[in-house]
Symmetry: C2
Subunit: 232 residues, 2 copies
DNA sequence: CGTACCGTTGAGGTGAGTCAAAGTAAGTGG
DNA sequence: CCACTTACTTTGACTCACCTCAACGGTACG
């Protein structure tokens, strides 16, 4: 969000006006930041901590589709869609959230094309191919989906020169399961297998990856023959 | 698209300028309108016919996620995201497509906040909960996913007073399978079952639904106990 | 009247869900 | 600091929906 404002060459007076409207609030683990079905009244931006976005379908089956990292926004989809929130945002860890009232955001968007353009980009990139693979999975074994999740988390984390990496997962096994559209039991089994193969060793919420490239290869070699599901 | 322009109170000169940039082209069944990985250079709008959007993952496994109906837009996601297309658009039936060059669209968006607002809405609503259920499925049996697809198609089709309806499907079994993230064989079996239960009778690409409400109920009663996959 | 392609049906295998129970970590109160 | 509760995680046994492979019937089109 800060980034959006900076890169849009907004006059300082407008920035100050926006800052006045901001509400900051802390949330503790498990607390809901906003709930599915609630009317969207503003924009949320994560200052610190991690949050999870998940959607419950008609059968009350919950599927998580995004881990929100510090600095990222959430709730913009329903804000612009003028629909109630289609997902629930829940704090994975203790976190601080900025809240921008709807009117303030929309006004700035109307007045600053560059600012609007940035939002278009964010909106258009949301739920792109990045998450797609991990999420739609289904034909992909849970183990491979888990590997993909790890590789996604890794990019925003550290990773040393030797091709090794360590991830501090902000979420529980249950949350991982929700992200993979799988069951916690299945995730546990996948974790066990990855450990036995020496690809990724889980110790609590810490994941040690001896060789990142090996993980990448693991994804690709699991490929089952020639898959064809749509028009040629 | 027409709707967007009309509702944004644009001066007629701008509308005419846009109209000059339009390129209209016909596509025959199976032809690709744009391809995944290609650089996005404009906006596509379907005049007539039907198109299918599908995404191929790293394993070349193809999943369709949207049936584009006459009057709807496509390709806007990658246009604003400034990324290559993440999906392929393919003609399901013979169809006519308008093409709006990128520059023309972006210029109008910068100059007309109301027009921009409309696009925000379209973008934000795309891939909302409507499609989610049908797509993520996985925990939902193929039969129920199929029923959901039928109900989605029905809303944009006809449906008489007695609660009966008839759908003319624009796509092949193979395409249905891609939309449901299933295999054609599984779709065939689901179709057979629906026919035996008298819920929906398939004759080629024509679907006769004696009782729409019964279909709705069918979705809900299939529910498997209490599902819980994310933080409580 | 072939040649394709599409659609359907059958048989067999399997990944992952379900259920149930044991093991482990975390947080609470005396 | 230790019992105790609570929640999370892991394991095993079982089941099942769907995928795979393979064969056959149907329809369109040259």
């Amino acid at each position: 969000m800060r980034e959006h404002i900076r890169s849009s060459n907004m006059p300082p007076t407008d920035v100050q006006a926006l800052d006045k409207t901001i509400v900051v609030r802390g949330f503790s683990r498990g607390e809901k930041i906003f709930a599915q079905g609630a009317v969207a009244s503003g924009l949320y931006c994560l200052r610190s901590g991690h949050a999870l976005l998940w959607h419950a379908d008609a059968f009350n089956y919950k599927t998580a589709f995004r881990v929100v990292e510090p600095g990222e926004m959430m709730g913009y989809r329903s804000l612009f869609g003028e629909d109630p929130h289609v997902a629930t945002a829940q704090a994975l860890t203790a976190c601080d959230v900025c809240y921008y009232p709807k009117e303030a955001v929309l006004e700035l968007i109307d007045q600053h094309p560059k600012f609007a353009r940035r939002f278009f980009r964010t909106l258009a990139r949301d739920r792109g191919p990045k998450d797609a693979l991990v999420l739609r999975g289904q034909h992909i074994p849970v183990r491979v989906r888990l590997v993909n999740l790890l590789l996604l988390m890794l990019s925003s984390d550290m990773c040393d020169r030797n091709g090794a990496g360590v991830i501090q997962l902000p979420m529980l096994r249950r949350d991982i399961a929700a992200l993979l559209a799988a069951r916690p039991e299945s995730v546990a089994r996948a974790i066990k297998e990855l450990g036995e193969d020496g690809l990724a060793v889980f110790t609590g919420r810490t994941v040690a990856i001896p060789d990142v490239d090996a993980l990448y290869q693991h994804c690709n070699q699991e490929q089952p023959a020639e898959a064809q599901t749509a028009v040629p």
